[in-house]
């Protein structure tokens, strides 16, 4: 069990938070840019950072220990490899530090290179590899360390679209097999669902909420938490709820139905009229953007995005009667 206590991710934050990362579990830390993800990674790894807080690994306190003395491996966002060493030497680096004997080291390097699909490149220098291969090398080196805690700081964000999708699936099985406690940071909610046994939401250097992906998706406690779990963010319901400043009602883009779509009429359906101002089709999904005016004619007007699977013929300027289930409406705190 990896515990962190009274963590303040930047000097401007006063209220610290505690969190426990269950042993062998994979936690996805989800947050926008500058939300403190990298500071948390550096705190866990023992690298110099603004973040402050205690780090406990089981009974052993790591807070004052240097990275060398902690059993932590890291994969950085920029593909960080030793430019003057070959691929094989890069993977063997942690084994060298652990004084593993020659034979064992060669065997581990060979098997990891095979697992990550870079066994044909062992004698190459990192500069001769593609982006994807360089990140696979960095992952192989992190796995070679056989550390108890594995930290990956947005490892795939610099990769091509198709490469990212393939590596996420590969990482899921790879990281599970290590049995290590894994912390994986990302800005994409799809990673939270794909990789996260647990998810921790960060917003402006503070922990907003933590739990299983589905729990956070169904019951976000605040607007910020709700925004993080779907891409594009949630739509605020127009009308009465806005003036009460302690809370608001919102709906996720994928929970709004276009007219003629709801096969069985459900009891507590709510209807909102939207003036469409643009339509985007990405092949497997359609995004409809528009302005929604609440039907109890208050001036309050919201901009909504509706996200539906498949192709839908909607034209700009059209008025749509959108329907949504009462249960899907989220009751959120404003902070």
């Amino acid at each position: 069990m990896l515990n962190v206590n009274n963590v303040r991710l930047s000097d401007s934050v006063t209220q610290g938070f505690d969190h426990g990362f269950a042993a062998g579990e994979m936690t996805v830390v989800l947050g926008g840019n500058q939300s403190g993800k990298t500071n948390l990674c550096r705190l866990l790894a023992g690298l110099p950072t603004q973040a402050a807080g205690e780090v406990w690994h089981g009974e052993q306190e790591w807070t004052a220990l240097s990275p060398q003395k902690r059993s932590v491996a890291v994969v950085f966002q920029a593909f960080v490899n030793y430019p003057n060493w070959t691929v094989a030497q890069n993977i063997a680096s942690p084994l060298l530090a652990q004084r593993v004997d020659d034979h064992e080291r060669k065997r581990t390097v060979a098997s990891l290179a095979r697992t990550l699909g870079i066994d044909g490149l062992l004698e190459r220098l990192p500069s001769e590899l593609s982006g994807g291969q360089q990140q696979r090398l960095a992952i192989a080196r992190a796995l070679a360390q056989r550390a108890d805690v594995l930290v990956l700081d947005e490892p795939l964000v610099n990769l091509d679209y198709k490469l990212r999708e393939a590596l996420v699936l590969e990482l899921k099985t790879l990281l599970a097999e290590t049995g290590a406690t894994v912390i994986y940071t990302s800005t994409d909610p799809r990673d939270a669902f794909a990789l996260g046994d647990q998810v921790m939401l960060l917003h402006e250097q503070c922990r907003v909420q933590a739990g299983t992906p589905l729990a956070l998706y169904r019951e976000p406690i605040s607007l910020a938490a709700a925004h993080l779990m779907s891409d594009p963010g949630v739509n605020l319901l127009p009308g009465a709820n806005r003036d009460s400043d302690k809370g608001c009602l919102a709906i996720r883009p994928e929970h709004v139905l276009l007219p003629g779509e709801a096969d069985q009429t459900f009891a507590d359906a709510k209807v909102f009229d939207m003036q469409v101002d643009s339509v985007e089709r990405s092949g497997d999904e359609t995004f409809v953007h528009g302005r929604v005016i609440s039907n109890d004619n208050t001036t309050n007007e919201q901009h909504w995005v509706v996200r539906r699977p498949g192709m839908h013929s909607v034209s700009v300027g059209e008025m749509l009667a959108l329907r949504l289930r009462g249960e899907d409406i989220l009751n959120l705190a404003l902070n």
Partner: protein
């Protein structure tokens, strides 16, 4: 669309000719005996001889001059680079109390006019008995080459991302292992360029070298300026000596040519 306008290409060609002519003239005089030079003015030497070069290589005064120069230059380069490496690493990786002021102070030493230090150096080195030894000149030149090395090395080292230092710590390597087996090899071209610039700066300097040496450790640069007045104007031998002093720079510069500009700009380009 090539941005090299015709005007700048013509000026470049003209400047190259302007550069080559004096060097060509140095070589022609070095290939002619003194009498021949004083005789008829020739654009191309009609009967070139290697006598002047032979004179340099055999005559102990000239020969010893070269040896003295090489010894204090190598000594200086060794001291400067080995002292500058840890300092440059620290400047590029850490912020600490007074780091900016110290970095600026180093710059003022690099820019200090040698003439200002004639007097104090002369007294300082003679009082500690180092006068007329290569070590004196080497240490005196450190005033310029150490700051030069720190600035150039820091310029190159700040190009290496700090994540590499973090990665080595996470892999479990000790600082010493990281510094010698990872960080220095990555910066080997930077070290090469710094050695080149220390060598050149110390090799080129005359004022301090002349002041701090008597007869024992007289370097080539001093031998050249002194013999002009002593045995009349032996232009041929002087030109040959000039050719020998130009050679080291040209031979080595090919190997450091990519980083040459960054070195001249004190690592700031």
């Amino acid at each position: 669309m090539s941005r090299r306008s015709r005007l700048s290409r013509w000026v470049l060609a003209g400047y190259c000719v302007y550069l080559i002519l004096p060097l060509y003239w140095l070589l022609t005089l070095a290939l002619r005996s003194n009498a021949d030079i004083a005789g008829v003015f020739e654009l191309v030497p009609s009967n070139p001889t290697l006598a002047n070069f032979a004179e340099i290589l055999t005559n102990p005064v000239w020969y010893q001059g070269f040896v003295n120069s090489i010894s204090y230059v190598l000594l200086n380069t060794l001291i400067s680079v080995s002292v500058a490496l840890p300092a440059a690493y620290v400047f590029s990786r850490y912020r600490f109390l007074g780091d900016r002021q110290l970095f600026f102070w180093l710059l003022t030493n690099r820019m200090a006019p040698p003439a200002v230090f004639l007097l104090p150096f002369f007294q300082l080195y003679s009082s500690i008995g180092l006068f007329d030894t290569p070590l004196a000149v080497a240490l005196a030149h450190c005033l310029f080459t150490v700051p030069l090395s720190v600035w150039i090395l820091e310029g190159f080292m700040s190009g290496v991302p700090t994540e590499i230092d973090d990665m080595a710590r996470i892999d479990g390597h000790s600082f010493w292992f990281f510094f010698t087996r990872i960080f220095l090899p990555i910066n080997r071209s930077a070290i090469g360029v710094t050695v080149f610039f220390c060598f050149m700066f110390s090799w080129v300097e005359l004022l301090l070298a002349r002041t701090l040496t008597g007869s024992e450790a007289k370097p080539i640069v001093v031998v050249m300026t002194r013999t002009v007045s002593a045995s009349g104007m032996d232009w041929g031998v002087l030109a040959a000596a000039g050719v020998f002093t130009v050679l080291p720079g040209i031979l080595v510069v090919w190997f450091v040519r990519q980083h040459l500009v960054k070195g001249f700009a004190l690592g700031r380009v």
